[in-house]
């Protein structure tokens, strides 16, 4: 890895944070851009502590608002960026909410352009995109620019436009561009460590919430509410939740430690282009449901082809599933030729989301109270 300092945007976020942590650990000189809120230095300090990283070189930390030209930096911070030649752009808004349309555009699309503008000497731009820029495309998604105009939500649409912006600007300014397209990312496959617990985690969190609610109603009250919800508890304390999950298709999950290693391997290889960072071994919702049942004292989760609509427990599950359906019941596959060429060469194989990895990730999430203790 070269000695040039690297700017990492979204360094307080999940992927940006883990990448920043690893690069700092390896002694890379880093400029870490947090989001607009106050206390960037303290947030990064706590994040590095959480990641067990003792910096060799203290990173230069500043807050930024990438929706603003010049990133809203003070003149001194702005000048510091003049020397930056390498950028890993992880800042983004990942909301699927329709209400966030305007902000999604501002952060994801304008933000990408603003970052490139703010770093005049940039020579290498690593852009964190997503495997789901493919939108509603079916079949095999290639490691190529996407042409689809149909998306499952505005997040996907803005991520696709952000890729376009990055390609357009980098081509115009002769900047080497690498685009990473990870699939759903979970915690570290060995420790479960993560800072965000949405996507994959959320349905498990809902199940555990329902389990605890039902248990409490039965153990501490008369259980009448639990029973009228069709739930029950067996003598061993296992709670039966009569809910069903849609089981068509597959879900692609990669652990964050793999993502970090893969990104660094691609950076070190000097390769440009688009890289799918995806798991060759996908999971089914049924598998994940049975892991949840086995590890967390739950029974009764059934798998159906589509979303079922019956009763309040199911309604709660559906509410989430409606949003995440395209990712949990994915029929697409992701081409990996370019990434395999670099990563397999480096001996990097993506760990499967098997029972052990699932458990270590979920246990960590529970320990962190689903993120309440990882607010950096």
């Amino acid at each position: 890895m070269n000695d040039d300092p690297v700017l990492i945007t979204g360094a307080t976020g999940f992927l940006g944070g883990f990448l920043a942590g690893e690069l700092v650990r390896r002694g890379k000189r880093t400029f870490l851009a947090a989001g607009p809120q106050a206390g960037a230095v303290d947030r990064i300090r706590r994040l590095l502590e959480f990641l067990d990283v003792t910096p060799k070189y203290s990173p230069k930390v500043f807050s930024s608002d990438i929706t603003k030209p010049g990133l809203g930096l003070c003149p001194e911070d702005a000048r510091a960026l003049d020397t930056i030649r390498e950028v890993i752009h992880c800042a983004a808004l990942t909301s699927f909410s329709h209400r966030e349309r305007a902000r999604l555009e501002a952060v994801n699309i304008d933000g990408t352009a603003n970052i490139l503008d703010a770093v005049p000497a940039c020579r290498r731009f690593y852009h964190m995109s997503t495997a789901y820029v493919a939108g509603k495309a079916s079949g095999t998604c290639m490691e190529e620019p996407v042409s689809t105009r149909c998306f499952n939500n505005h997040y996907e649409a803005t991520k696709k436009k952000a890729e376009d912006v990055a390609m357009h600007v980098c081509q115009g300014r002769n900047i080497d561009l690498t685009i990473f397209r990870p699939s759903i990312t979970c915690g570290d496959s060995r420790t479960g460590r993560s800072t965000r617990f949405n996507a994959l985690y959320y349905p498990v969190r809902v199940m555990l919430f329902l389990r605890d609610t039902i248990r409490k109603d039965i153990l501490e009250r008369d259980g009448s509410r639990a029973y009228s919800l069709g739930a029950s508890m067996d003598p061993s304390g296992r709670v039966r939740l009569p809910v069903s999950l849609p089981g068509a298709g597959r879900i692609n999950v990669i652990p964050v430690n793999y993502l970090v290693q893969a990104v660094i391997a691609v950076m070190e290889s000097g390769a440009t282009g688009i890289f799918h960072l995806v798991n060759p071994r996908e999971n089914t919702v049924g598998e994940l449901a049975s892991f949840t049942e086995d590890f967390y004292g739950i029974t009764g989760i059934s798998i159906s082809r589509e979303l079922e609509a019956d009763g309040p427990l199911q309604a709660l599950v559906n509410s989430y599933m409606k949003v995440y359906y395209p990712y949990f019941c994915d029929g697409r596959s992701f081409d990996r030729k370019r990434s395999d060429r670099v990563l397999l060469n480096e001996g990097l194989v993506c760990p499967s989301l098997n029972r052990e990895v699932f458990k270590v990730c979920m246990d960590f999430a529970i320990e962190m109270d689903w993120g309440a203790r990882t607010e950096f």
Partner: protein, 622 residues
């Protein structure tokens, strides 16, 4: 000043003057001393003012002061009532007053009798000796209100007439002696209207109430509060279009014409008035229905003097039907909420409709300011509720309202969420809904059967809710909230015992406007303009409510600013904001003649609403 006195003074100065301690708002009784003696000075509200004045040494030791202190039975009724609405503990002021009077007596202080001049003698001849006074303790309870623009004005006298004849005689006396007067109901208009250096004519003793159910009418004396009127009406199977429960009904008619959520079906102003009796400024007795009575069609756009003191009003009774209830329809933004409320009203659906902001909703439902804050965060930020349309109606209304709504939260869910409010945060339920990543997490609350899950998660109960209040009041709160009505949206809108909670976190300055509701963008613009004025002046403020009228073509909108009326800096900022808001409203009225600030309706509340809502079309306007 010792610590107890300082704390009492702090409490006393915070009195909001909304007079909720002058009525039996909680069904727990009403101040026996006030009921017996009628002057506001004997009620907790008056005691707050008197205690503040005494501790700040602004009043002398008078006979009235001793009498007020002696008459208080220390029953404690006021502590629960006032705490329920404002979070204050008036017993601190009551105890401080008692203590100070005991000390004064121990020190041998001799109370001075207020001099009985010839004018007072004449007043006393009319009302009976004990019902007219110039005692400084009593006068002090009639000399202020928390409005930032009110100027403290100590009256010369306070008189409590018992009937129309006595009112007429007082007016004639004042006229012949050149003494000014003002009529006062419960003083809860809190806009400085009921302050005067002359005589305050307090209508508290004019307590006649006669029902003619066969004619669906009730004759209401000027001293009857909306709460008393509504209680009687409901017990007979009727409802009256009342607003604030502490407002004396005749005062409310005269002042604002009475607008409430029910106005969407039964109107405002003259709509609910069959007749009224007035004493004009020469002491003549007039009837609205009489030849010389005021013309309710002659609305004066520039504002008007009252036709006189309203001594009685004959009011419409609306029958209550079996199975009336309510639903709440949440929205994330204002425009769709307005469109929905308007659509219902255009189709004549619902007995009452109101678009409420989250600020109101949470403030009303939560028993403490702390919980209201938590609720605002959870309802607003986590669940995404920006506005809630409350629909009151019979079975058929509600069926139609549900069918037209994107989703509807039922009464049972409202009860569960209210009684389970203290667990909303810790149970994880709210964060589960928030984390869904869906656009409108609140939609889950409208799912059939979700109430059971909410109940299982929150384990709602009166005791759980009561755990949020001061420990010594918990038992009383638990008893209150074990009554179904306390979470029943229809009942709460009928009796309105929680709406004055809007002043709990600071005195409220309400801006009320009639607005064209068929232009939701304009309403949203009005909201933004108020918000800008408040923001620029560093004043806390928010949209209150909007009720459709006239089949959705018009609406009555309230926007509120809040302040600590005892903080000079906040008062100054609020004054400036009020001036700017006034200018802004005048500008809006110039742009669209259908916009009307309610200040122009004051004193003409008996007017036909068509005369002010459609004033651009009046022939006299040409």
């Amino acid at each position: 000043m010792d610590r107890a006195a300082a704390s009492a003074l702090e409490t006393a100065r915070q009195c909001r003057h909304y007079a909720m301690c002058k009525i039996d708002c909680l069904g727990t009784g009403v101040c026996p001393s006030g009921r017996r003696n009628h002057f506001v000075s004997y009620y907790p509200q008056g005691i707050m003012d008197i205690t503040a004045a005494l501790l700040e040494e602004r009043i002398p030791v008078s006979a009235g002061l001793f009498h007020v202190a002696d008459q208080c039975t220390m029953c404690g009724i006021c502590d629960l009532q006032c705490n329920f609405v404002t979070g204050l503990r008036p017993m601190k002021a009551v105890e401080a007053l008692k203590r100070r009077v005991t000390e004064l007596r121990a020190r041998g202080a001799v109370p001075v009798e207020a001099p009985e001049d010839s004018f007072l003698l004449s007043l006393r001849e009319i009302t009976g000796r004990e019902f007219s006074t110039s005692d400084p303790a009593h006068l002090t309870a009639y000399s202020t209100d928390p409005c930032p623009t009110s100027v403290e004005t100590v009256p010369g006298y306070v008189a409590l007439p018992e009937d129309t004849q006595q009112v007429s005689s007082i007016v004639r006396l004042c006229r012949s002696c050149g003494v000014e007067y003002v009529v006062r109901g419960n003083g809860s208009s809190v806009m400085g209207f009921v302050l005067s250096p002359g005589v305050i004519i307090d209508t508290a003793r004019m307590r006649t109430l006669e029902f003619r159910t066969e004619d669906r009418s009730v004759t209401v004396g000027a001293g009857i509060s909306s709460m008393e009127l509504q209680k009687e009406a409901v017990s007979m199977g009727f409802r009256v279009n009342t607003a604030e429960p502490s407002a004396l009904y005749c005062a409310n008619i005269m002042c604002s014409g009475v607008f409430s959520l029910f106005s969407s079906s039964c109107g405002t102003g003259l709509d609910n008035l069959i007749d009224a009796e007035f004493v004009d400024d020469e002491g003549n007795i007039l009837q609205l229905s009489g030849r010389n009575g005021p013309n309710p069609c002659a609305f004066q756009r520039s504002g008007a003097l009252p036709p006189g003191i309203c001594t009685r009003a004959v009011v419409k009774l609306h029958p209550v039907c079996e199975g009336e209830s309510a639903i709440a329809v949440p929205f994330d933004s204002m425009e769709p909420a307005i469109l929905y409320a308007r659509e219902l009203n255009a189709m004549d659906i619902g007995l009452g409709i109101g678009v409420l902001g989250t600020e109101y909703l949470c403030t009303f439902m939560a028993p403490t300011a702390g919980l209201a804050g938590t609720m605002r965060r959870i309802y607003g930020d986590d669940l995404g509720i920006g506005y809630m349309v409350v629909v009151l109606g019979n079975r058929h209304h509600l069926k139609a309202a549900r069918a037209l709504a994107p989703c509807a939260i039922e009464q049972g869910m409202i009860t569960a969420l209210t009684l389970g409010m203290t667990s909303l945060e810790n149970s994880g339920f709210a964060s589960i809904l928030k984390g869904m990543g869906t656009d409108s997490p609140y939609m889950n609350l409208a799912e059939p059967g979700m109430q059971i899950l909410v109940e299982a998660a929150l384990d709602p109960s009166p005791e759980a809710l009561a755990s949020a209040v001061d420990p010594d009041l918990r038992e009383s709160y638990a008893a209150l909230y074990s009554r179904d009505e306390m979470t029943d949206m229809l009942w709460l809108n009928t009796f309105r015992i929680i709406s004055s909670r809007m002043g709990r976190e600071g005195h409220v300055v309400a801006f009320i406007l009639y607005v064209p509701m068929d232009v939701p963008d304009l309403v949203a613009e009005i909201h933004r303009s108020f918000a800008r004025v408040a923001d620029e002046n560093g004043v806390r403020g928010d949209f209150g409510f909007l009720t459709p009228l006239e089949r959705g073509s018009m609406g009555v909108l309230e926007w509120d600013m809040y302040l600590d009326h005892t903080d000079e800096d906040e008062v100054k900022r609020a004054q400036e904001a009020m001036v700017q808001a006034a200018g802004m409203i005048e500008g809006l009225q110039g742009r669209d003649p259908r916009i009307l600030w309610i200040r122009y309706v004051f004193n003409q509340g008996f007017a036909r609403k068509e005369s002010f809502l459609h004033r651009g079309s009046l022939l006299s306007h040409e």
